[in-house]
Symmetry: C2
Subunit: 465 residues, 2 copies
C-alpha cells in the first residue's frame, strides 16, 4: 500500500489545529494558527533579531536634536534601512521643526558661598531656554518644593534664582508616575519663577537616582511674563545646594547659559510599510521618534522605539506573513520639543481621509517588555486586553487601559485606538535625557523582545479588527 | 458632647476593612488588611529600602569563594548586619567547605596557528579543575558541539584538547532555559573529554552574549577516568578559535592553569529571624548564598539574594508586623561548589525535627522581580498561585509551578514547600560568574522590589498556611 505522505501530513496539521488543548484559555481567535505565529515571531526575534544592530547604527550618528545635522542623518539612515529591507512605499513626510542649540561656549553654575567658597555645579540648560547675559547672571538662590510654596513666599522671590527641588516620589511603582509628579517643575518652572519676580530657574533633574549628571528636557515660556534662563541641576548637586542653603541661609549662584533658538529647519518623518492583502487602505502604525535630546545618544529615548518599529515590520516580512491590513513603521520627528512630526502625520491623515485602525508607540525605553497600555474605544481596548495570553511568550502580558504615546496622541484625539509598549520602567529615568542614554545601557534580548511584542500586536490587530 | 476620637478612628478602620470594593478579585484571604500590608511593604521598600546599601557593603569585601578570607568576612559582616537590625536568635551554623583556589600565577591559553601565529585567548580555570603541568600543556584542539558528537569521533579525540562550543539556545525566553541546555559542557566536559582520551577541556563560557570575559563555574570529575584540566573560554574567543580551526584544520593550544584544591576549611551559614507570635516553632526560610565565584564580586550571584533575605525580614520588623510563624533569613554557605550549607541546614532541621512551612530562595540575580516559581505539594502550590494579585504592586505576579533554588533543594526533598524568586532573566548570564558581576550592574529599585516581594510572600505564608 502506498501512503500519500503529503495528505497524511495535512491531516495531522488539521488535527493539531482542531485540538482544543492547544488553545490558550483566553484565545477567542483563530486558534493555534495565531499562537504558532506568535511563537515564530518571538523565536525569530530572539534568534536573529536586527533591532540591536540597527540601534548601534542609529546611535552612532550621535545625539539627534531636531534641526541638527545628526537628525537629518537619522532621517536618511532610517529611510535607507527601510529601503534595504524592501519595505513598500518608503517615503519622507516633510515637517518644519524648531531649532534650539545649546551653544558652543561652556554652560556653568557656580555657588559662591560664605562658608564653602566657589563650588561648581553640574548643570545644563533646559531645552528651549534663553541664554543668560554673556557675562552670566548672579543672584541669590531661593529653594522651593512646589509652585504653591513659591506663591506663598510672595515678594521674597523677587530678583532671585528659583531652585525647584521636589524629588520624584520613589514609592510609585511605575517611574513614569514619579516623573509625572515632578516634571511640572521642568516644564513650567521658568514661567512660575518669572511670575514670582525671579530672574532664573534651576530645576532638580528628573530622575529618581542620585547622580552627577544633569538631565535636560523640554520647558516652555508664557508670553505674558518675562522669559528667564532655566537649567537642570544634577540630583547630587541639588542635594548639595540644598544643604549649603540650609547652613549658610544666603547663597549666591552665578549662572551662565549660551543656548539659543535659531530659525526653524526643514526635516521629515520617515514612513515604510507592508501593504495589507485584504484591506490595504486600513493602516496600523508602529512608531517611535527619531529626534533625541543633545545629551548622550538617545539610545533608549527613542532610538530604541524607532528600530523596534522597523524591526517589527521586518519580522512580519521575514516570516512571510501577509497581513490583511497595511502595517506601517513611522519614524516621527521632533517629539522632544515640538511634536511637529506627530502633528503633521495626523494632519495629513485627516486631510487625505486615511483610515487608521490603531497606532502603537514605543517611547518608554528599550527595556524588557512587560505589556501595553491602551487608550481609545472601550470595547476595542477590552478586546486587546483579552489577548493577554498571546503575549506571555515575550513577557508582555500586562495589558491595561492607559495612555499610549506623545507622537500618536493627535491620531488618538482623532479617534484612533492608541497603544503604548510598556517595558520595565525602573532604570529609564536613570538615563533619560542625560549623557548616560547610550547604546551600552540597552540589552539586545530585551530590545528584540519589545520589537517582537509590537510585531505580534500589530499582526493580531490587523487580522482581528 | 465629647467625641472619643480614638474610637471614631477605630470605627473608620473597621469600616475600611469591611469594604468589599477594596478587595482584589482574587483575594480569598483576610481582605483589605493583607492588601494594605502588601502596599505598605512595597512602599517602604521603595522609599527607604536598605538592601542596596547592604549590597554595597557585602560586595565591597570582594569575591567570596568558599574557604577564602573574604567568605569568612561575609559570614561576620552579615552576622553583624542581623545583630545591628536586632534580629532574634542570630547565630552561625558551622559547616566545613571545599577550598579551591585559582592560584597566584597567571592562567593562559595561547593558540599556535600556522597562519595566525600566537593568539592569546581569554580563559580561566573552571572551579574545581586541576592544574596543568607547570610548563603548561600543548595539544591539538578538537571542536565539538555535544558529547554525542565527541563519542562519534572515536579515537580522533585521543591526546587532544576537547573544545566544547555549543552556544546557549537564544530562542528560549527564560535564559535559565538556555543555560540548562548548555551547562552540561561545563559540569561534565572534563569527564567526557577524559573518556574520549582527551588531555584537557576548553568550554565555551555559559553566556548568551558575545563578550571578552571568561565565565567560570563549577565542574566535576569522575574517579573512573583521569582528571584533566578544564577552562572556560570567552564567547568571542570561542568564535575566534572556531574560525581559525575551520581555516587551519590543525591548531595547537598551549594551556596553563595553576589552580589547586587545598584542605577543607571551616565556615558557616548565618541565621537570624523574627519569632512568630502564634507558632514560633514553625519556620519560613528566606535565603540566598553568601559564597560567590572568584570573578567580579558576586553582586547578582548571590550577594543580591542574601541582602534581599535580610531586608525582607527587616521590612517586616520595620512595619511592626507580628507574623504568626517564625520568619528566618538564612545566608547559605558554599552553594557554588559543594552545597555544604544547604545540606547542613536541612540535616540539622531533620535531626532536631524543626517544622519548616516553606523556604524561599533568591538566587537568580537582583533584577526586577517578575514572580515566583513554586515546587512541592500541589494544593499548597496552587494556593500560592491564587495569590497572584497581591504581587502586582511589586511586579511579581507571574507565579508558576517550577524549581525553587539549590540551597533549599534538600529541604524541598524533605517535603518542604520551595519557592524561588523569579526576576527578569535577560541580563543575568551576561554577568554570571565573570568579572562583570559587580555592584554597578544592580539597580537599587529593582533589588528593593525583590526584597519586598520576598517579604510579602513570607508574610502571607506565615498568616495563611
Amino acid at each position: 500500500m502506498r501512503v500519500d505522505f503529503k495528505r497524511v501530513g495535512m491531516m495531522l496539521l488539521v488535527l493539531a489545529a482542531a485540538t482544543p488543548a492547544a488553545l490558550p484559555a483566553q484565545n477567542a481567535m483563530n486558534g493555534t494558527s495565531h499562537q504558532q505565529i506568535v511563537e515564530q515571531i518571538a523565536q525569530t526575534a530572539l534568534r536573529e533579531g536586527q533591532a540591536y544592530d540597527m540601534l548601534a547604527e542609529l546611535t552612532a550618528l550621535g545625539p539627534r536634536l531636531s534641526g541638527s545635522p545628526q537628525a537629518a542623518a537619522a532621517v536618511e539612515l532610517t529611510r535607507q534601512m527601510m529601503a534595504r529591507l524592501q519595505f513598500a512605499n518608503v517615503r519622507l513626510q516633510p515637517v518644519v521643526v524648531p531649532h534650539w542649540v545649546r551653544g558652543a561656549i561652556e554652560e556653568a553654575a557656580i555657588i559662591n558661598s560664605p562658608t564653602q567658597g566657589n563650588v561648581p555645579l553640574s548643570i545644563c540648560a533646559l531645552g528651549g531656554s534663553i541664554a543668560t547675559p554673556e557675562t552670566g547672571l548672579t543672584a541669590e538662590v531661593l529653594e522651593v518644593k512646589s509652585f504653591e510654596e513659591l506663591k506663598a513666599l510672595g515678594k521674597k522671590a523677587a530678583g532671585k534664582i528659583i531652585f525647584f527641588n521636589r524629588p520624584f516620589d520613589p514609592t510609585v511603582f511605575d517611574t513614569f508616575g514619579g516623573y509625572g509628579g515632578a516634571v511640572n517643575q521642568r516644564g513650567s518652572g521658568a514661567i512660575e519663577a518669572a511670575k514670582a519676580g525671579g530672574v532664573a530657574a534651576l530645576v532638580r533633574s528628573m530622575t529618581p537616582s542620585l547622580d552627577d549628571f544633569p538631565h535636560t528636557g523640554g520647558m516652555h515660556y508664557d508670553d505674558s511674563v518675562p522669559k528667564v534662563p532655566t537649567a537642570a541641576i544634577s540630583t547630587l548637586d541639588a542635594e548639595l545646594l540644598s544643604k549649603i542653603l540650609a547652613h549658610d541661609k544666603t547663597v549666591n549662584v552665578r549662572l551662565k547659559l549660551t543656548c539659543q533658538t535659531l530659525p526653524e529647519a526643514p526635516s521629515a518623518n520617515v514612513l515604510g510599510e507592508i501593504v495589507g492583502v485584504e484591506k490595504p487602505e486600513e493602516i496600523i502604525v508602529l512608531g517611535g521618534h527619531l529626534d533625541s535630546w543633545d545629551k548622550g545618544t538617545g539610545a533608549h529615548d527613542d532610538a530604541a522605539g524607532c528600530v523596534q518599529s522597523i524591526e517589527a515590520v521586518r519580522l512580519l516580512k521575514a516570516l512571510g506573513l501577509k497581513p490583511k491590513r497595511t502595517i506601517r513603521a513611522v519614524m516621527f520627528m521632533n517629539e522632544e520639543n515640538g511634536l511637529r512630526g506627530g502633528i503633521e502625520y495626523a494632519r495629513e491623515a485627516r486631510e487625505k481621509q486615511v483610515k487608521h485602525i490603531a497606532a502603537i508607540e514605543s517611547d518608554r525605553g528599550g527595556f524588557a517588555p512587560r505589556g501595553f497600555s491602551v487608550e481609545g474605544d472601550s470595547l476595542a481596548a477590552e478586546k486587546i486586553i483579552s489577548w493577554r495570553a498571546f503575549f506571555e511568550s515575550v513577557g508582555a502580558e500586562r495589558i491595561t487601559r492607559g495612555g499610549s504615546g506623545a507622537d500618536i496622541s493627535v491620531l488618538v484625539r482623532d479617534g484612533v485606538l492608541g497603544l503604548g509598549l510598556v517595558p520595565e520602567s525602573h532604570r529609564y529615568f536613570d538615563y533619560h535625557h542625560s549623557d548616560n542614554d547610550t547604546l551600552d545601557k540597552v540589552n539586545a534580548r530585551e530590545l528584540e523582545l519589545g520589537a517582537a511584542a509590537m510585531a505580534i500586536m500589530a499582526y493580531l490587530i490587523s487580522e482581528e479588527f
